[in-house]
Subunit: 192 residues, 2 copies
DNA sequence: TGTACATCAGTGAACGCGCGTTCACTGATGTAC
DNA sequence: TGTACATCAGTGAACGCGCGTTCACTGATGTAC
């Protein structure tokens, strides 16, 4: 019969999950704290105990977003030991993340709502950045290679989300990956 | 003494200007029709006569945004006749637009609010796309070159806006342009 | 082992606010005759 | 040239809504003795 207890147990985690689902359904622009609380089956004043205000919740979601972002990159890099292939894998993972979690993607890269000065969020973003730097370092590249890899990956992902890139939107998954590989290949530092 | 007349004269244009200013100050996320009307010095019901609803106004602003975007590209391409330099100029113009009109940039590339099926907006976006294609065609490039040029330009612009690209945010304007040139150069099809 | 008490998590009612939209209206303009 | 009338652009009051936040409260848990 599942009588629900007065205390939730792990409401913080439940609110994060609900927040993510809410984000997925309504996007950053339609996000509301009340809707998240309702989805978690809890009064709309409850989140305040865990996140302070709506900004706190979005900041926590963005932090979690970076973790999920990193996981997508890792998943695609895991298949190989070749540093070049790892970099291409990271670009694939970037596309995966944007496709699978568009609202989270927008939240972490294009929204002013999360509090950028929050230490956890900053650390999560920093970790992702360092990871990219590490990939390029393994190839003997420099700062401009980091910019190139990140910008090309990000640009393809963001434009595809917005439906702006004619050349990508009609493609099958295999064709799309071939396109990503082609673009990334010419960006990576030459084999030394 | 400037008694203001009952009829405005060109309220449509005034509302677009006010909308752009409002967008610049509050961003897409904080945009409101009432604030735009107030800024234009008009009752908040007036915009309905020209744009229907708030979505109509944002769609018109996005359409205008594409025109301004194109103008930034043109301005940077105008200085040269070399097709390679023109492509680099377009990338510079892309950065200029993002820097000078961040909210408009976000509106046209990262917001779901404008009505994508609106014919004027679609035509404006299409025009920008075709322009890019033309630049690449002049270089003998193919579809993947279009994707590469656009994605790299877009990625650098968007990441710089979000402050995510360490390698770009601390740079002087000259250094930043050198970086953009470096990235774009390796993306353009090889000289034939 | 039992009891008092502090602490904490969640409730639900209430607040004030700004929002988009609707509507009856009014002032101005232009056109038909 | 003058007048009636249709049309249009803008007004301002009112609507209902969902929002974030506050607050006094209550139920549950854990800890000190």
């Amino acid at each position: 019969m599942e009588e629900k207890p007065y205390h939730h147990g792990d409401l913080r985690a439940a609110l994060l999950a609900a927040g993510e689902a809410e984000l997925a359904e309504r996007g950053v622009e339609g996000f509301s704290l009340r809707a998240v609380a309702k989805r978690a089956g809890v009064s709309h004043a409850a989140p305040a105990h865990h996140f302070g205000d709506v900004g706190g919740l979005l900041t926590a979601l963005a932090t979690e977003g970076f973790v999920r972002f990193q996981a997508k990159l890792d998943a695609r890099e895991a298949g190989t030991d070749d540093p070049r292939e790892k970099a291409v894998g990271a670009a694939f993972g970037y596309q995966d993340f944007a496709r699978d979690r568009p609202a989270l993607f927008r939240l972490i890269f294009s929204s002013a709502k999360p509090d950028a000065s929050n230490p956890e969020l900053h650390a999560a973003a920093e970790h992702a950045y360092r990871h990219l730097v590490g990939l390029i370092a393994a190839l003997g590249g420099d700062e401009s290679d980091v910019v190139a890899l990140w910008a090309a990956s990000h640009g393809m992902a963001d434009l595809a989300l917005g439906g702006r890139l004619r050349g990508m939107s009609g493609l099958s998954m295999a064709e799309r990956e071939a396109m990503v590989r082609s673009v990334i290949s010419r960006i990576l530092p030459p084999v030394s």
